[in-house]
């Protein structure tokens, strides 16, 4: 080992005059970059996240390919009906994993390394997770949408695409908040994975992803009509169906009819309340 004498000498705190915002974006971007580097070098999450819904789409679509015409409302084919459900399921499963990297950082002590640094705000750690998982889940959803289009299940044009993206974004925010909360509330990644595993499929089945409410017994109909996934699926289904307006009724629930704008509002309120709900937990764990 060799050294020049000046290498080690301490200097007064650098970059003193910088704005808080510049610091905040530097630390958030660096943390986000790390998550994307991990993804690029271990792309199995990305691939599996697209592959699984794709299998759903192909197999489930085929399962009901010969269902009697006119069985579904508005004369939809089952494949077209299923498309919206699988898109939402893709985004939902991806966002449900939001807490995993954070949980591993907690468990292996990498989080402590971050917390020793003079971060402007420790919420940049949370923000990086949100940025990462939002882009990842939208990316996966778009991949599924593209594949579905190739399979002849349609493509929402113009305003429809915007509605799809906004809906997915709101759902992803809500689920990400939930998952990040779990990542701090649960003792380890085994528990987190168990919760993700248990929550995933039942939430899919108890929604209108695979069948309309009119097919369900009343109790399941109620569950489906309260399930946040349904509030994301129906506006997207409407966007895929062609010309639509936000004030169109997209779902006839046991408790009343819901318009697309109501669905979006419910999702927005859900996302906001979940973030407010986990805030005290994050404050405590990151303080």
């Amino acid at each position: 080992m060799t050294s020049a004498p000046s290498l080690l000498a301490p200097t007064p705190s650098p970059a003193a005059g910088r704005s808080a915002l510049a610091d905040l974006s530097q630390e958030t971007l660096a943390l986000t970059k790390r998550l994307f580097l991990q993804l690029a070098r271990r792309p199995s999450t990305l691939v599996a996240g697209v592959l699984q819904p794709l299998i759903w789409l192909v197999l489930f679509g085929a399962l009901f390919a010969n269902a009697p015409a006119g069985m579904l409302p508005d004369g939809l084919s089952y494949g077209r009906f299923l498309g919206a459900g699988v898109i939402v399921f893709t985004a939902f499963s991806a966002a449900l994993n939001a807490g995993l990297p954070l949980m591993f950082d907690r468990e292996f002590g990498f989080l402590n390394r971050l917390l020793v640094a003079p971060l402007r705000s420790r919420f940049s750690i949370v923000l990086a997770s949100v940025l990462y998982i939002t882009s990842l889940s939208l990316l996966q959803s778009l991949a599924i949408m593209g594949t579905a289009a190739l399979l002849g299940y349609g493509w929402p044009g113009g305003a429809g695409l915007l509605l799809v993206l906004v809906t997915l974004l709101l759902l992803v925010f809500a689920v990400t908040a939930l998952s990040l909360g779990l990542a701090f509330a649960l003792p380890g990644h085994i528990e987190l994975i168990a919760v993700i595993f248990v929550a995933n499929l039942p939430l899919l089945f108890a929604s209108t992803a695979l069948a309309p409410i009119s097919f369900m017994p009343p109790w399941l109909g109620w569950l489906a009509a309260l399930n946040p996934l349904t509030f994301a699926i129906e506006p997207i289904r409407a966007a895929y169906a062609g010309a639509f307006s936000l004030s169109d009724v997209v779902l006839v629930a046991p408790y009343g009819s819901l318009t697309a704008s109501t669905c979006l509002l419910v999702l927005a309120v859900l996302a906001l309340s979940l973030f407010l709900l986990i805030r005290p937990l994050l404050d405590r764990k990151l303080s």
């Binding site: 060799t2 000046s6 080690l8 000498a9 301490p10 200097t11 943390l31 580097l37 402590n112 640094a117």
Partner: protein, 335 residues
């Protein structure tokens, strides 16, 4: 540079710190010596603002660490004991991330990384993924990340545990250079010889308190007298040792007779001068005791430890060796 006053910290029923106070002067290479479980890591974690004490005050560079943790984080580089590393990133990427978290300008950050890579001889592997690093490489990378933002204070938790002699020597050399160039360095260790060779000053910690503090030479000189180890057999038993102790204790000029369990029940004691050992030899021969070994030395840091705590560091280590709970310790460190 560091002023800790009356720190206490409990983990459930376990008292980790019980009123620990400590001052570390600026520009000093300061050692915290103590067995595992004495409270060293807890103290350093409090300093690094990772942990809040139940009571007490923490000042670093004149800043109240509990009120202004961010200012302290800028002043301080922390090298933790359990090196958490992102296996998927290369060492350089990890350092770049670290630099961004300290808000370094990217050109200066990359220049600084290049300097440290040279200083710590990391050129040949810094662009490989961290997952492939050996223990010594990881420790060097961690040292580099602690030094990246040129902190005025470097805090290291057992930086050489489990390292080969060469890596250990390399780290010692860097720590000495740091001190020579004005950085305050605080390290914990349960290696006596490390603290003895390295530290300008040291504090012995036991049961969450500082029980002795000073420069190594000062502490040794304060003990006075010569240390003697007497073994009548290669391995005695306790009964024999106690009988022998009674005899030795009655000798004039002998004090502080201790039975050393860790050394096959040998006797450790202090003699005032050379003549006492001669007189003792005669008495042992008269009483027909065999003598396997009779060694005499100036006081060592081990003796300082023995005097301060009533047991050797080795004994203290053995005592806690079986009672550690790695699971509970990991939980303490987890957020």
């Amino acid at each position: 540079m560091i002023e800790l006053h009356n720190l206490s910290k409990r983990y459930g029923p376990v008292e980790a710190l019980g009123g620990l106070s400590l001052k570390v002067p600026q520009g000093c290479l300061f050692g915290l010596l103590g067995p595992n479980g004495a409270g060293k890591t807890t103290t350093l974690r409090i300093l690094a603002t990772l942990l809040a004490p139940d009571t007490g005050t923490v000042r670093v560079g004149g800043v109240d660490a509990l009120a202004e943790p961010r200012a302290v984080r800028e002043l301080l580089g922390y090298v933790a004991q359990e090196v958490a590393i992102d296996k998927i990133l290369t060492g350089r990427e990890l350092l770049q991330l670290q630099g961004d978290l300290y808000h370094m300008v990217s050109a200066e950050r990359d220049r600084r990384i290049a300097e440290l890579v040279g200083l710590l001889a990391m050129e040949s592997w810094i662009d490989r993924r961290c997952g492939s690093y050996s223990g010594g490489m990881r420790r060097r990378l961690d040292l580099a990340s602690g030094l990246l933002h040129r902190p005025a204070l470097l805090v290291l938790d057992e930086p050489t545990v489990g390292l080969d002699i060469e890596s250990r020597g390399a780290i010692w050399q860097v720590l000495r250079q740091l001190r020579d160039q004005g950085t305050t360095v605080l390290l914990s260790s349960h290696y006596l010889e490390e603290i003895d060779a390295l530290a300008d000053r040291l504090a012995i910690i036991e049961g969450g308190r500082v029980i002795a503090e000073g420069a190594p030479a000062e502490l040794k000189a304060a003990l006075g007298g010569d240390r003697v180890t007497l073994r009548v057999r290669e391995f005695s038993d306790e009964q024999e040792a106690l009988k022998l102790k009674a005899l030795v204790q009655d000798c004039q000029g002998v004090r502080q007779v201790v039975v050393n369990r860790a050394q096959g029940f040998s006797l450790n004691f202090v003699v005032e001068n050379e003549g006492v050992v001669e007189a003792l030899r005669r008495q042992l021969a008269e009483a027909q005791w065999p003598v396997f070994a009779l060694a005499q030395s100036r006081p060592s840091l081990d003796d300082v430890y023995l005097q301060a705590t009533g047991r050797t560091l080795m004994d203290a280590e053995l005592e806690v060796a079986g009672s550690r709970d790695p699971k509970a310790e990991r939980k303490q460190a987890m957020r």
